[in-house]
Subunit: 471 residues, 2 copies
């Protein structure tokens, strides 16, 4: 099938105005939020309903054309790059919240709804959708499900997976499956719902999502602590958990990140300190007050140089600015920002951060680290320039060492960003040869013709481990 | 391979004393907690380590002998019946808790550890493992994971799936995979961890489990309300949730169950009432008190005839007796107790209970219903006699109607007991033809030779729906 015939067939399915194929339009869909990856699709299609998704997939399977499903493409793993061309299937027209069911505490919606839109609708009814990926204002629920998106509230509230109750999805064959539903308990057959969560658009195209909502916490309160020494901050995190406090947010920023934020936003942070913790708790007022007071006391006992405790939720939002500005502040320092998410069990936080700093020195790179200290999900962020191929090679070497170390500490190569293109050749380090082979067979069970987001997640070649350690 | 050669080969792997094959021994492993199913295995094997499990599976694959993994066989779906003979692989020697990691809030253990033993070890460290299936005193964690066991705390705390963070498992080929780990966030590849949870021993043999623990709630408190009318109880459940209270336990018993409990245990329940609710909340004392007081007020407003509010946790335990005795009280009334677990979204609770009562009348059966009102997980329990084939045929007809109705209400054929043998021919009603086909391909991806618990979960023939409704 030549391109023009493909475009006509797609226009017949979704309507002329929902198919793009000019060079300028294709260029706009050649990238996602991940640096270093660019590849133009053959055509961009915006389906308006499940039946159209089905027809597109039937066509693609018949013609052996790759299909790359995406929402607003905020992913950070190259997961929505059309590496072999193909149909970019943009799900953003499917943006209706069909139902907020207050009796069953569920919401049912289309995949193109943004995370923030869902959170707002839930909030208006006194309900709460906790997952809050960094891109929540633009990211879509379909993308969140495909990537099993995390966020700042993972420690207490879990990730997207923990809220997805049911899905409608179209298989590459065009067959439609419905998994799960509104039932809090459901063990009818293999758990296809959670298998599709985090499958990065490689198994099926998600066309409808039912999520769990929970009652909105009564209030929240925050504090911010500044430490001269990383070890003090790490001990503080450990002692908060030991004291049986599970804050809704427990964020860490290193010196480089603090300096960048201060330079960018002038929020009044001392630039000679080694670590910052932002701690927030939500829930009933009495519990929140007790937890934040105890957390503050622990910060002081562990030697915090400065401790700011918010008296109101608004003051807390102000304190959160430092953390919220982190990525934007870092991103303006160099042309290219490589944001990674190596993750370790919480108890290894300090060791991992120290290792990242050593690696940065070794490869002469600027790597700043911030992230979700409570769940060990760190974002070592390398400030570089993709035009400098020699430096990019050093960046890759450095991250290979970081992933290797994360695995040696019982951690993982990706906590919340996904494998996509960026980490597929590291995946075997985490899941082993037998794990890769099972995943290949799973992929074939859903997509025997390999038309759905081909070339993602599963390795094309496994990277040699630099340092082989007994994990 | 004849049986004697098979037994010798197995003895060489696990040691003579860990292989049983006398007729008397085999008879003891011919059943599980499910009535109506009996079938003797060829041989019973007790492996002592992962390497032995591997060797048994390699042998079984080479010789095409079925392997049925089990713990203490408390499942209620016929999931561990050796329908075609084969090796009954009893995992109870693997009963060590290797680690309670208080810093990372995890426990790592072998599959033969009982649920109660894990809960006790966690409790001793001020931690909490919430899933509490009815059989928790004897059920093993391996079985809980294989069945995705639920329990009374599902509404607030979720089910086994929500606590499993990592697994070691042996594939039928003998290959060992390790999934997940101690990381609160981990999106490295397809979610094999949650796919194995609830896979009923058909995909891999679980040899090690890492679960999440949470801080132990400060206190708990309960109340019990008795209603003349089912509708009052259902409205009470709905209003508790509307008021943003998520109790840790919210249990329902119908009149038949109340009568049986009273006759059995003389706990002082009025036998002319239509419904009982047991409501328990845990957490910080102030929250618990406020929630139980408000829940009690709602019970009164909705017309509860009687309301008992426990002043202490001990009084709460006493109030819980009525619910705890339910199954034992019912089980003594007739020779055979068929305990089902059709589940509906919470808002359809009253409609489902009324339908069950109508079906009981229609088929002239005694069906009593109790269960987890908060999560819509009902246990319609039919008191019958398996020797009466004509009555058993009516029992099957009645449950077919009940499953059909549950699905029509957006529910499911099984909330927490699993598909096993008992519901495999209803599975297509819930997941559709395309869903079944995907599941068959998933099974083949793990177990191409079909040696692992063959004949379970996936249908042998799909039962004709009695009433075809638009779900």
């Amino acid at each position: 099938m030549n391109e023009s015939a493909l475009n006509s067939a797609l226009q017949a399915i979704v309507g002329e105005e929902h198919v793009l194929y000019s060079a300028a339009d294709l260029a706009a869909y050649a990238y996602d939020a991940t640096p270093l990856y660019r590849s133009v699709p053959t055509v961009v299609v915006f389906p308006g309903c499940t039946a159209e998704v089905r027809a597109v997939l039937e066509l693609a399977t018949a013609r052996q054309v790759p299909v790359i499903p995406r929402g607003h493409a905020t992913n950070l793993s190259g997961g929505t790059i059309a590496i072999n061309g193909g149909i970019m299937l943009v799900m953003t027209r499917l943006n209706r919240i069909m139902e907020i069911d207050a009796a069953n505490l569920t919401a049912t919606l289309q995949p193109g709804v943004t995370t923030a839109a869902l959170a707002k609708e839930a909030d208006a009814r006194g309900l709460f959708y906790p997952p809050d990926p960094g891109s929540q204002v633009v990211s879509t629920l379909g993308g969140n499900v495909a990537e099993n998106a995390g966020g700042l509230r993972g420690l207490k509230y879990g990730v997207t997976r923990d809220y997805v109750m049911g899905l409608e999805a179209v298989l590459p064959s065009g067959e439609i499956i419905r998994t799960g539903g509104k039932n809090a308990k459901d063990v009818a057959g293999y758990d296809l719902t959670r298998l599709l969560v985090g499958s990065e658009g490689t198994l099926a195209v998600i066309t409808e999502i039912t999520v769990k909502l929970i009652p909105k916490p009564e209030t929240k309160r925050a504090c911010l602590a500044i430490f001269d020494d990383l070890q003090q901050a790490a001990r503080t995190v450990a002692r908060i958990i030991e004291n049986r406090i599970i804050p809704c947010t427990l964020e860490y920023m290193d010196q480089g990140t603090i300096q960048a934020v201060e330079e960018f936003a002038h929020v009044g942070l001392p630039t000679d300190c080694e670590a910052l913790l932002f701690i927030e708790q939500d829930g009933p007022a009495a519990v929140v007050d007790a937890d934040i007071e105890l957390a503050g006391e622990i910060c002081r006992e562990e030697g915090a140089r400065e401790l700011k405790v918010a008296a109101t939720p608004e003051e807390g939002t102000k304190l959160a600015e430092a953390r919220r500005f982190a990525l934007s502040a870092l991103a303006r320092l160099r042309p290219t920002t490589v944001l990674e998410d190596a993750t370790v069990p919480r108890s290894h936080l300090a060791e991992m951060v120290r290792f990242i700093n050593e690696v940065a020195v070794k490869y002469n790179l600027r790597i700043c680290t911030f992230g979700h200290a409570g769940d060990g999900n760190l974002h070592p962020t390398c400030l570089t320039d993709e035009r400098d191929h020699e430096e990019i090679e050093r960046v890759e070497q450095a991250f290979a060492e970081i992933f290797d170390k994360a695995i040696a500490l019982g951690g993982t190569i990706t906590g919340e960003h996904g494998v996509g293109l960026g980490k597929q050749n590291y995946l075997e380090w985490k899941v082993g040869h037998a794990g890769i082979e099972v995943m290949r067979r799973l992929k074939a069970a859903f997509d025997p013709a390999n038309i759905l987001n081909p070339g993602k997640v599963l390795p094309t070649a496994t990277r040699k481990r630099l340092v082989v350690k007994q994990g």
